[in-house]
Symmetry: C2
Subunit: 318 residues, 2 copies
DNA sequence: AAACCTTGTTTGTCCTAGACAAATTACGAA
DNA sequence: TTCGTAATTTGTCTAGGACAAACAAGGTTT
């Protein structure tokens, strides 16, 4: 195959680095330094795109572009993740073997076996423990594997897609919500990870909340409209680590302004570490914390209905 | 509420119009003409964002920006869709009442009732007819309602999310594929509509194909890697009407280059109308055509196994 | 009238290069 | 160490120019 070259737009799509950033890096650091096509426009060779992808991955781990771009190609592969993540899955280390087994099925591209393995665990543990003790740690584990480059993008996609299916299927078996509180679940544009939202939905639905799943990538103005139309008590958002940290607070402030003051805004996901919540926005660093807050809220509003609700959750989860 | 203003990045997210386009329109047509914040940067009032959203919708119907941007605000609302779409759902007009009923449930924001109605129809008609006669026309109907502004963005999201669930749930009941052909289903970045892919998957799985669902928004290079890793015989992509037409051929050419020559590239979805397929890429203008092509392909490769396969499908669908 | 080619207009994307604020690090003092 | 300040890094915004591809309009031929 002779040199497939990529336009700047194609590189933006493939790496997630904006055109502005690509041009700026070229100006400042001399990399990437694309060839030019007949029209004088940038034409990136596949090798540069590959290196950019690698750099992006390392940046998501906390490395700084200035260092990475100065580094020779060979040095990149040897770089270890930087200690941004607190403790890095120590709390799941106990059961790491079970997770490893599941991940192995994905890496063997055996979709059917993976699905069956998940369903088996679901049947054995029940919904709540399945979500908290299996899916949540597994998702985190996969996220870390992705950051370390131990898993391909398409393997992560397959994992997400299959896990989503099992979760959704399990949820259809759940009884309808009590009608209160009404929780609207979604994510902002650019944030396409939905697994976190599904886990929250599963646990919230177990607690009797009325969940309104809107999928991902809702424009802020539309989130506000939806909250009004559905008379939502709570809007729940999720941010993954892949989401650019710096954009989180301004977006939340904007959404807070657009929402009715009495609508609560709950935010979770692995992307909110080290981010400080704006006024009027509640951050939850774990699934457990979110569910607990929901039960407390319910007891405050309808103390007599407390009998419906499960006890605060035992065990750790994220 | 005091004038919430939007940065150019926020407008890009909310409307889907690129920063370049926003600036160019301002230069050429004098709209949008945002205010400036303390740093001299564009700050769009909510009213302008709203009008931009409306303009975008009309453009997706085939109107030209030059005309729209010259028009006064009041004239916009009165504009009818331009006849780009061939015949516009005449072929579903017969059963339009059943569809209208379903859509009504969505517009009443009654998620549970909608889900139940769908499940009831699935049970009554069986998978194949459910997909072809209910889900496909309904999706098209909703798409047209969206283009006409008769449905809100968040209503469309809710529709998609709930319909996805019913379809996926139904598919888990299907037996595993025969192992051949192996079909990899996904979509390119920027293309987040997944319903079309799910419908294809459902029908292909019925025919015994081994489906590998990777969700949406896969970078082209990753699609190629996945096809290789999974030894896919066919890569199936879907483009919705929302996807910018002009970007389709170059992206397909690029992907065609990245894929092994023996891997087939099948493309469908409402977005490919009036687009000419590049060499080595097969376009399917309807679900039916895709399924038919699959059965013919199977008979060519394994004539003796023909007994497994269903007859070519009766009835129309898209 | 329908199919075709040619010409002019519209429109999106890419280009360069400068500026600056916010985030991060480095440094020095308490 | 812990804190506050200065220096640096880094992403995003701005301006206007250029151009090719898409599209409409008009004229010619079948």
């Amino acid at each position: 195959m002779i040199s497939t070259r990529f336009s700047i737009a194609a590189v933006e799509r493939d790496t997630g680095l904006s055109k502005d950033v690509l041009r700026m890096w070229e100006r400042r650091y001399g990399f990437p330094l694309p060839e030019r096509d007949a029209n004088g426009e940038r034409a990136y060779p596949a090798a540069q795109v590959e290196r950019l992808r690698q750099i992006k991955r390392l940046m998501d781990q906390g490395h700084r572009p200035g260092k990475l771009l100065a580094l020779p190609v060979e040095a990149l592969a040897a770089l270890a993740p930087r200690q941004t993540r607190s403790t890095r899955s120590e709390h799941i280390a106990e059961d790491v073997h079970g997770l490893e087994d599941l991940l192995l099925l994905i890496k063997q591209h055996d979709a059917n076996a993976y699905t069956q393995a998940l369903q088996q665990r679901l049947a054995r543990h029940g919904m709540q423990r399945f979500v908290q003790d299996i899916v949540a740690p597994l998702t985190q584990y996969v996220g870390e594997a992705w950051e370390d480059g131990r898993i391909e993008v398409f393997e992560e996609h397959l994992f997400t897609e299959l896990t989503k299916r099992v979760l959704r299927q399990a949820m259809t078996a759940l009884p309808a919500g009590l009608g209160s509180p009404r929780v609207l679940l979604t994510s902002v544009p650019e944030e396409q990870h939905v697994l976190g939202l599904l886990m929250v939905e599963a646990l919230f639905a177990l607690e009797g909340a009325e969940c309104i799943p809107l999928g991902t990538q809702m424009p802020l103005t539309e989130i506000a409209r939806a909250a009004q139309a559905h008379q939502a008590d709570i809007v729940a958002l999720s941010f993954s680590t892949a989401f650019p940290h710096r954009q989180i607070p301004p977006q939340l402030e904007q959404l807070r302004q657009l929402l009715a003051p009495e609508t609560e805004l709950w935010v979770g996901g692995s992307g909110i570490h080290r981010v400080t919540p704006p006024a009027g926005v509640k951050f939850f660093s774990s699934l457990k914390a979110g569910v607990q807050s929901l039960t407390e809220r319910a007891q405050k509003k309808h103390p007599e209905a407390g009998a419906f609700l499960h006890m605060p959750l035992p065990g750790a989860a994220d």
